[in-house]
Symmetry: D2
Subunit: 391 residues, 4 copies
């Protein structure tokens, strides 16, 4: 079968010390410290064999994620951008949907409560949580101590077929009533779930009528816009400097979008909310050191108590947090990571089935063969949001 494979050279930086869970020459938890000279190409592989608790999926759609781009993008010294768990060579692709074509003897369908049958349309969690470590046993699979990641440390879905544990699969049947191409929107369940986990599970959602403010209109920020509108937000305000992204935010349902380069953030929020502020602020820019001062000044100046600041974008920079603002306004900061557990995937699918249409995020549809080229283009292209690969 055809697959898009990324290979790279294991060449740890001089000062890098292998971690306890790293495997020499094969797997690391800190990709950008180790891998050099990545190469992406269309290869021929054999169709994977499934284990008793696995299913074989014929992939129909797979979206390109920013991390796919960053695994293939290098700094001047040749090391890849992507800082996380990686084991190369690997088939890329983790935002996908497809059809069950084979099912292990122990592969259980959560929808029916019976063994999987051929033909079930599904999407799949990217995080292969172990189910046996303490966070998993306590109900927090997003914080699994022995995580593997599809399309990062094990083979992904830019391929004709993929084998995955059945427990990671969620049926797309509910989408059939509303969408002609359930696989297209189905491939958006994974990124939408990252946003849902951030604002609904970690941010504890909003009550209908409360406001939300989204900083950054990348895929996660855009998904959060739609989720919070679906949840009954009074106003959703988006801060985004890039014009194409701003347009998309409007399409996804934002009530107001402004550029923080052109407007004073706090003034604008005060004006748009009649000085109320918001119940939830989502940091989705990756520039927390720049935006946190704006967020906390706004919390301070506006009247709302109990605001929650959710940090979903990854960043290494420290944020200059002023505790007093969080005391006076009864506010809090929470970190968000992952998309598994807590009913997130099935709730996202169910929401989509009820009309939460995320497809405006897809700005281009391509074939598998076009993936390598687009991984290159996306290093600089800011006009596309989500590119969806038809397989």
């Amino acid at each position: 079968m055809k697959a898009i494979e990324l290979s790279a050279k294991w060449n740890p930086k001089p000062n890098y010390k292998l971690g306890l869970k790293d495997i020499e020459g094969k797997l690391t938890y800190l990709g950008s410290q180790v891998w050099k000279h990545p190469e992406v190409q269309l290869v021929e592989k054999s169709v994977p064999k499934i284990k008793p608790n696995e299913v074989l999926i014929k992939v129909k759609r797979c979206g390109i994620c920013g991390s796919d781009v960053h695994m293939n993008q290098t700094t001047k010294d040749g090391y890849i951008y992507y800082p996380g768990l990686t084991a190369f060579p690997v088939t890329l692709g983790h935002e996908f949907s497809g059809e069950i074509v084979e099912s292990g003897i122990k592969a259980f369908n959560k929808r029916t409560g019976k063994p999987y049958e051929k033909g079930e349309p599904v999407t799949v969690e990217e995080m292969v949580w172990c189910g046996e470590c303490k966070p998993c046993c306590d109900g927090y699979p997003n914080h699994c101590e022995r995580l593997q990641e599809i399309g990062f440390s094990i083979d992904g879905a830019f391929a004709e077929y993929i084998a995955v544990p059945a427990k990671l699969c969620w049926s797309l049947k509910k989408l059939e009533k509303r969408y002609e191409d359930i696989y297209k929107i189905g491939s958006l369940v994974e990124p939408t779930s990252v946003a849902y986990n951030a604002v609904i599970e970690r941010g504890e959602g909003i009550r209908p009528g409360e406001n939300g403010i989204i900083l950054g209109a990348g895929p996660i920020g855009l998904a959060a816009v739609k989720i919070l509108k679906t949840a009954g937000a009074g106003l959703i305000i988006v801060s985004e400097p890039e014009e194409h992204r701003a347009q998309l935010a409007k399409k996804m349902g934002a009530d107001y979008v402004f550029s923080p380069l052109k407007e004073n953030f706090t003034d604008k929020v005060q004006e748009l909310t009649d000085n109320e502020g918001a119940a939830i602020y989502l940091e989705a820019t990756g520039l927390p050191d720049m935006v946190i001062p704006d967020i906390q000044n706004t919390i301070w100046e506006c009247k709302a108590v109990n605001s929650t600041v959710v940090i979903v974008a990854r960043a290494e920079q420290h944020m200059p947090v002023c505790g007093e603002y969080f005391q006076v306004r009864r506010a809090r900061i929470v970190g968000a990571q992952g998309h598994s557990g807590h009913g997130t995937f099935p709730n996202v699918i169910s929401s989509m089935g009820a009309g939460m249409d995320m497809t405006p995020m897809i700005t281009k549809e391509i074939s598998l063969e076009e993936v390598p080229k687009h991984l290159q283009l996306l290093q600089t292209d800011r006009e596309n949001c989500k590119i969806s690969v038809k397989i």
Copy 2:
């Protein structure tokens, strides 16, 4: 000024013993045990004087509530139906909106953080919570130990003017952008808040994509339909035998409405939800002994865990609850009462401002003079839902 006043005869039933907080000849917590021969008429009263922490409101709209009807409706022995707190004679009316025309020196506008100014459009909580008993101090004004009720134990809003504590008022400014007649929808904030308190505060809401089932499509049930759709419900299913009500439920956004007299409740829910069931069940029929068996059988048969059954309709009947069903399905039952506190009124207004239009519930608009007649008609009329009085 003109006002609709209800008077009745203080004539406690033989076996009735005055409660600790009852006041001989004037006020009782158990109206149906005490009041006989109610009479409703249009009277002339003087415009009320305000205290320093009060405002005077020129009433614009006031809806007729079932309890208005029941205060005026009697059993064979002449006692009124309404079982609760009452002090007659009283001006009826508690679902209202109007404009501030005078403001006490200490009357504080929660919207502006400044003293009230003339012209602010407002709606008002019906529950005059004391703010000084333990439930009030702990944050539970719906359970105030020293409650007074507007239109029940103190003069209400079927009148040209009403004086109320400023702390009970909530601005309707946010509705101006979307609604031509903000007072019409504004008079629906109170009943909507009863439903919001039931499903959002007490029922702890739903996550987007989860299902809700509403039993009974009276005003509270209908409001709950719209609120839960606004909150992103996957499916909202309504059980309602009466055809006009069923039609209204569809108008308010229900995905499915069925008659429990024609369909088996559990079978129908299993069919419509692919055997999933629902996150929330709202008992809004007043017949809990009849519907609880259906609800708990459905919880038992369907797959969902963590269902919440919210009891919002008042009823004296015992419900035959089977604990094991609630154990196996990790379910619970909560009682809901009131509309105050917890941000409910402002969140309802804000939701309306964002498009949660409850006005389809209003099936007729009348004048103040027509109120007495309609209080009579509504004793038997099942076709009207909410009658709105223009003042």
Copy 3:
């Protein structure tokens, strides 16, 4: 090795229809409908073999549970009392502790984050949750759709050795500092966890200073007494008619114990709490139809709002619940089942390590050989609480 095995005759009642998950002649979800003529005896079995994700435990202690007695106790027609999941013949015993003596290659120790080593002292969840059904994936293993139960449907711990999935094991290391015999108290982790799940996870605990009322001083009720005292309860009041049990409740820390046969429940609670009532009521009697009226009258008469009634004992009887009491007092009823997930086992062990000593519950210690006799005795003995078997 030696083991206590229960066998019985598969003889479904005439009107009994096998369930979807029942297995003819072997396994049923409704034991009392199927199994006749149980026999318990000490047998010789071979030491079990472990799978890659399992460990072999040398059992040190195992407590006798009421369900062990009920599997061996019959009604007049010869059917066993125990109504749940069973597959006979089976080695009994599920409240146990022991030492790891062999470890599968994939057996992961949650304490160390490494493979299990010999010598780790552990206790084990009785519920073998699958980790792959929807409730498991959502974080609710107590509601696993494919549960197996140690000592019921798979071999238990009244034996010298037992093989179990490593994910069910929890280290007892923390107990070494405080207890001489960590296996003795370690065998109480399972029943304590059932109570902890009921009052802390499902009942959402108490805030320090709030009151709790426990109805029924069997093992679960007694464990709940100690847990809520540990959690800082203001007063813990126990309702228990049986004198030995009442004495034990005092030993476990109850502030007051009274007999509901001699005192009026509501009057007594009003008197002892200065009319405040309690934050939590635990139904642990198995007679919900008898005690719920007492509980809800007390909620009604006392001042506390927000009371939670937790149903932990199993019973088929319907409870006559009056919704209005739960509305007026902002109260709720929740069902509780199981002991897995939510950090319960490790928190119980940690609490024991910090001084929550449950060993007063153990009223007798016996050998493996003495188990069959004591399963008989316990059918009538009301003086013993927990009998602990040294192996």
Copy 4:
């Protein structure tokens, strides 16, 4: 009557602009920007008159708080240290207990549900929340927009008598069974409630068996130690460099106390908790920029997910927060302020009644006449914790 009064000179700093709610010459929300040359003296005042909703209290005990010291302490340029709401001259003192000696006609006793009677022993919230602004109406009196503060902006309790709104009073009756001097421990309810609000209300408490780490063993940190031990903490670890404070922490129940000047914070916590970390970290040092890096490194290195960092000490410094640590460990930061609402005062009293004895915090007892001298001494004295004034 005798009273300890602080007066100062209104002399706003050159660059200081009066706030909207400041009152020229009388009241400011930013004391240290305005008041110069404070003087404290014992004066003779008339016994205050009560309003209808107020009570007159004969003060029995009043503790000295750090803020009392800071209102009387100046920087080099003569301005007071205390940065908050102040209106001078004022009678100091806000951590107090006493006996009701007179009661307004509307003064309602929350304990009895009846008007206050003479003789009731009470303690009083320091925060005079208005009950009418949005945060108050929503249930968040600690964030009242129109706060007055006893002993800061209105006369306090270093006096023989004080008049206060009845709604702020809480009965000490529950303490009579256990304590000989209920007024002594009663005067500790206020500071204990600040800690209770921080760790139980804002930090959402702990489950029995979970660990807590307290940074800083001043009065709030010490109270938090005892509260969390009362709530069933597995381990309580205190970081405190000062030897006398460290000793007190042990007395209050800390399992371990170490000096962050002598030990590496993260290493020590890893060692003491077997690398688990803690469910709650309380920043009570006032040096958040220094301790936050330690806290978040510890969260990162230890295994616990879901840690909550509560900021209770006031400080202007920014904390260098690394969002990624909070993402990976599912952690959060919350601000805590105040002691009102949420059942906090009554729960603290009830906890004390059940044995949570905070009196070891009192290191000295003095008379009213000795207050001025001790306000001076406490500017440098680090050996005393809480000084209690007998009146």
